[in-house]
């Protein structure tokens, strides 16, 4: 048993690390050269175009959910509509090319998961924006924009970009940011891999059959794990795949959609922007929308 745990744990880590390493490197380079200020300059002025921009921007900007909330804060500070920001936050961790590539490799044996993750993003982000905006309006709850100076919740180093004018400084900053991000992500990956390997070996078949027969239980279990462990979206596909043998595809899709959009770490950071009431509202909306997509997948997928 110990040998099996060791092999499974090792294989998950060894397989995922190169992806995490390379994607974090690219993301760090873009983090240095593509600042939030530059993004805001690129943002179209027309609201509809701005939504479309927010919808598609993450296809070319590979930043995981670690920095989506600080970016959301920056955007809101610049009076970008809340809806655009939320679309941003919901899209970022799912559809950037690196996450898509990871998902493709992890689920190359079951491409429907990959395509439905894309579909989930495509419709999910815009529905989340719509519902959240309506509910905010209905509950007469206004977003209080942060007026403090720079508060880099995701980066504990003294970044940022505009301070680094020389290319060598930028390069050095990129390396520093990469190393810190990489070790942090590694930490979560290792914890997850350990949990996954323990679950695979010690969950008896009878228990798994019970879980599998109760869709609600398995969905709640996977969602709780996705929320609590704040798994990086660049590695979550590999972890999710290891659970494929005991959970249904629908609940794994829910895990892949829900986790990157909101997790414990992001909830804590969202407190910089929203009240608790608004945060719970957002979590509720994301849960319902991603859940509906998974149910749809289960029905017709």
């Amino acid at each position: 048993m110990i040998n099996s745990i060791a092999i499974i744990f090792t294989s998950i880590v060894l397989e995922a690390l190169p992806f995490v390493f390379l994607w974090t490197m690219v993301a760090s380079a873009i983090h240095v050269f593509m600042t939030p200020e530059r993004m805001q300059k690129l943002m179209p002025k027309h609201p509809l175009l701005a939504y479309a921009f927010a919808w598609w921007m993450w296809l070319v900007i590979p930043i995981c959910e670690c920095v989506s909330v600080p970016l959301l804060k920056q955007l809101l500070k610049k009076w970008v509509p809340v809806g655009v920001g939320i679309t941003f936050m919901a899209s970022a961790p799912i559809v950037n090319p690196l996450v898509m590539a990871s998902t493709w490799f992890a689920f190359s044996h079951n491409p429907s998961i990959f395509w439905w993750r894309i579909i989930g993003w495509f419709f999910g982000a815009i529905v989340i924006w719509f519902l959240f905006s309506k509910l905010l309006k209905y509950s007469r709850s206004e977003v209080t924009l942060p007026n403090d100076s720079e508060n880099h919740a995701a980066c504990d180093h003294d970044s940022h970009d505009s301070h680094h004018s020389h290319w060598w400084d930028k390069f050095h900053h990129g390396i520093t940011h990469f190393l810190q991000e990489f070790t942090t992500i590694c930490f979560y990956l290792i914890i997850w891999a350990l949990l996954a390997s323990l679950a695979k070996v010690f969950l008896p078949v009878s228990r798994i059959e019970t879980l599998s027969s109760n869709l609600l239980v398995e969905i709640l279990l996977l969602q709780a794990l996705a929320f609590a462990l704040s798994l990086c979206s660049e590695a979550d596909a590999f972890i999710a795949r290891t659970f494929q043998w005991m959970f249904s595809d629908a609940s794994i899709l829910w895990f892949l959609l829900f986790g990157p959009m909101i997790d414990f770490k992001n909830t804590m950071m969202l407190r910089m922007i929203f009240s608790w009431k608004q945060i719970f509202l957002l979590i509720g909306v994301i849960t319902v929308v991603t859940g509906s997509i998974s149910v749809l997948y289960m029905t017709i997928g």
Partner: protein
């Protein structure tokens, strides 16, 4: 400054341990025991990047600025420890925790017995078009005794051919090796011999096996065996396999079919 220096060296060790771990596994051909060879290219890329970063860090080692900026959180220590603790143990997973794909059912419905996907589904559809007997025979490998050889390299293709073109291969003898299993519903004189199959990494491994019938002693479960069997058809014109010669062999260093 001293604390920062220690943290910096810790980070160097994290990268170094990562580099050594991967390089060791690749150099000694053990990496395939954990990760599918199709993903090795990403590992090579990562190793190249690690090397460059290490060189960069060593060059910048004495700079105050970089020492300050490389200050690390405690998570780096955990990563470092876990990377060194990553065990390079035996390659054999406990078969009882793995999903099973019974290859003997391939002929009945052109699908595997389990609902689990395997890459062989693709092979299945590909091979369906090869109906010309002369061409099919060329697809199987034979030894000097005209036994069809079933190895890790030709595992999928040969089984597909033999099971789908059973009329062609009936009374042919086939030589293979693998680990002995016993399915829940198997009778006393039935047993399975199979190998581990990897889709992406060892975490998603499953067992692919063939079901055998024998009038002799059924080998012990978990025993590695070399087996020669003869294809036969019973009264119902269903495919059965009858074990002929079974010989224990030492466990394979690499038990995977890729």
């Amino acid at each position: 400054m001293r604390a920062h220096t220690i943290r910096h060296s810790r980070l160097l060790l994290v990268l170094l341990s990562l580099f050594v771990r991967y390089a060791y596994l690749l150099y000694f051909n053990k990496f395939s025991l954990f990760v599918h060879p199709k993903l090795h290219i990403f590992t090579y890329l990562m190793i190249a990047c690690i090397l460059m970063i290490l060189i960069y860090m060593v060059l910048m080692l004495d700079t105050k600025k970089i020492i300050k900026n490389y200050s690390m959180s405690w998570t780096a220590s955990i990563v470092f420890v876990m990377l060194w603790l990553l065990p390079a143990l035996g390659a054999q997973l406990d078969p009882s925790i793995l999903p099973i794909v019974d290859m003997s059912t391939v002929q009945e419905n052109n699908r595997w017995g389990s609902s689990n996907w395997t890459p062989m589904n693709e092979a299945n559809s590909d091979m369906g078009s090869y109906t010309d007997t002369a061409f099919v025979i060329k697809l199987v490998e034979r030894d000097s005794e005209w036994n069809i050889l079933l190895t890790q390299d030709n595992y999928h293709g040969t089984i597909m051919e033999v099971m789908k073109q059973s009329d062609t291969y009936v009374w042919d003898s086939i030589k293979a090796y693998g680990i002995v299993f016993k399915g829940r519903e198997y009778k006393e004189n039935e047993f399975g011999v199979g190998l581990y199959q990897m889709s992406c990494c060892a975490a998603d491994a499953q067992i692919v096996w063939m079901k055998f019938m024998t009038d002799w002693v059924v080998p012990r479960v978990g025993q590695w065996v070399s087996i020669v069997w003869v294809m036969q058809k019973d009264d119902q014109w269903e495919l059965i396999v009858v074990s002929n010669r079974i010989r224990p062999i030492p466990p394979l260093d690499d038990p995977y079919v890729y």
